[in-house]
Symmetry: C2
Subunit: 354 residues, 2 copies
């Protein structure tokens, strides 16, 4: 398939690299392609970023058949633009498709289209330290039809936008509320894929935690309400004694790419890393015994987010004196170092765009 | 708030009342109103049905913050148009809003707007036996923003369309597959409200059951995978000996309005109706003992859907010889009788429109 390119006649003004937020500013172009039952994915095109006319019966508004990915393009010091493990995002995109009965895309083609789009909008990749171009590939159901069944038509889009450094004042540890009332997902459900409904399901708990002064919630498993799952849009790690522990991929947590990269780095460094069940009780007991050294979240947006405080069941744990831990720092430096090509890339994670 | 009305200049051709499907044909007009943080719900209007221009970063595509309702308007033999318990739908709409962090609507105002819309499109309410006008109120997040938080803007729409008789060849019993692999919802989650993500989560199981020759899946609870929850877009009832049993509202099943009406009718008739936990094991054991007389689903679309066959764990149960049961029939006749004003309405369920 050939990608048709229509360039904008009205380029927008780019925000200054120093004052970027997250998710509010979009680049000049977007990639788009259509799926029609019997015809497959067709008409790939790069067009000016802009609104689309949709029938109010569009299935995605009613039945939420929608999936997405999130990754970043980084501008290196010597002015190249690179991606971090984008093949993993394309693989996960198709896993999400599979679970949501959405027709899969050709991963190589989609990656090529993404690179092409970034090339077209290369001036939108910011250059201030810690900034990047956020990339959002997503697919949603477009049949104008009211009835619960998979759609026969879909749109696949990639939109991008420059985003600021996540930590403007350094790696600030966050306060986390361990959620006992609400449940995000359960094995047999859709928690292991990136689909719209998971995020809608998380809003209420997040809002209540925020009202209590917490940044995010830590989800527990939906069956026993005992085992740690993940945090907001991040996976979670604990350093207990000389063991680094992260919940195993149990069918209800998202298999994060930052999580995977951390596990690989920790192994590479010869540290003991376990993917296993870990109860919140164990975490709090480890703290009482003085063994809980650090806890941190991992995700594309923040890379590493140190946890400074955990609240559960009327108990409060302050981690590492509320300051960032050693391992959190090391992982953050290593990952961002690789992403911006300032450190060697022993695993071949970095993929050049231009 | 005054509802502005703009009538279409291009009325569409109406389909013949005899050949109606479901969810594919929409009336000439739609109701719409907007929510803006700080301003509340505003600009209620009835406008020609048609597409809307949306930014591709529209939050609903990404995070699924969307809820809906479904009900019907019926044309009576003496040419009035009536609704069935629409206040219950408006109440549930707001319960869904609450769970999804969507600002609530004024229930009375929304009901009034709905009636106004039906009045404007009254010629779209079909008159063949068993036909009706399907009404879909829905709300979705419209901020063009990538980040997981409740939206600050929303659209509330009501669209309608004529729908055919659900049972063209009489009340045909359906074949149901009891789902052991996938889970629809769990207590603490969003299963008890009508939000988009629940339906996306159900597609895969539904598709696999269909491939095996079944019409719908019966969901079991997500914790123990033992207790009956509901069927597709219906609640479920079993007649065991002289007891009618339906799963209690446990926080993961939808509180159906047809379910509620059936319970009230059964009580009114002096029958023993229990809302309680019921395991699939109990259902199959009752069958072995010859006590399982009937099973049926209840929902707005089908009213009553008799179950002719249940498949679970390599066991097959044929109910009532695969024919519709006595109580299923009685409930169907009574409910449709009330809905079309052919039977007395002792509970005041019917609400006139015009
Ligand atoms: C629910 C959830 N968990 C974890 C993650 C972390 O995944 P990744 O490291 O691939 O960004 C994300 C974000 O993508 C997420 O949405
Ligand atoms: C998941 C689910 N359960 C049950 C029902 C039945 O509810 P009601 O009787 O209000 O139509 C519906 C349909 O609305 C539904 O979507």
């Amino acid at each position: 398939m050939e990608i048709k390119i229509e360039l904008t006649k009205h380029p927008k003004e780019k925000p200054s690299s120093e004052n970027l937020g997250f998710g509010q500013v979009f680049s000049d172009h977007m990639f788009m392609m259509d799926y029609t039952e019997g015809k497959g994915w067709h008409d790939p095109r790069i067009v000016p970023y802009g609104p689309i006319l949709y029938d109010p019966a569009l299935m995605v508004y009613h039945y939420g058949q929608a999936i997405f990915e999130g990754l970043k393009a980084y501008r290196t010091r010597d002015n190249h633009i690179v991606l971090f493990r984008p093949d993993e995002n394309m693989k996960r995109l198709n896993q999400s498709c599979e679970r949501l009965c959405i027709p899969k895309v050709d991963e190589e083609f989609a990656l090529m289209a993404m690179k092409k789009l970034i090339e077209v909008d290369k001036d939108w990749v910011p250059d201030a330290p810690g900034t990047s171009l956020y990339i959002r590939p997503f697919i949603y159901a477009t049949d104008p039809y009211l009835g619960v069944r998979p759609s026969n038509t879909y749109h696949f889009l990639i939109i991008t936008g420059p985003v600021g450094a996540y930590y403007k004042e350094g790696l600030n540890p966050v306060k986390i509320y361990v959620e006992s009332k609400y449940v995000r997902a359960v094995a047999g459900g859709i928690g292991a894929v990136k689909t719209a409904g998971n995020y809608a399901a998380s809003l209420k708990a997040q809002q209540e935690a925020k009202d209590l002064g917490y940044t995010q919630v830590l989800w527990l498993d939906g069956v026993e309400r005992k085992y740690v799952e993940e945090v907001g849009t991040m996976n979670v790690f604990f350093v207990i004694g000389n063991e680094v522990v992260t919940p195993e991929l149990n069918g209800s947590i998202l298999p994060g790419i930052t999580r995977k990269s951390c596990i690989e780095l920790l192994k590479h460094w010869g540290l003991k890393i376990s993917e296993r069940k870990i109860s919140i009780q164990e975490v709090f007991e480890a703290n009482e015994k003085g063994l809980l050294k650090e806890a941190f979240g991992t995700g594309t947006a923040a890379v590493i987010s140190p946890i400074g405080e955990l609240y559960w069941n009327e108990q409060r744990v302050i981690l590492n004196g509320g300051k960032i831990g050693e391992l959190s720092h090391r992982l953050y430096d290593e990952l961002t170092g690789i992403q911006y090509c300032e450190k060697p890339d022993p695993f071949g994670w970095v993929v050049p765009v231009v």
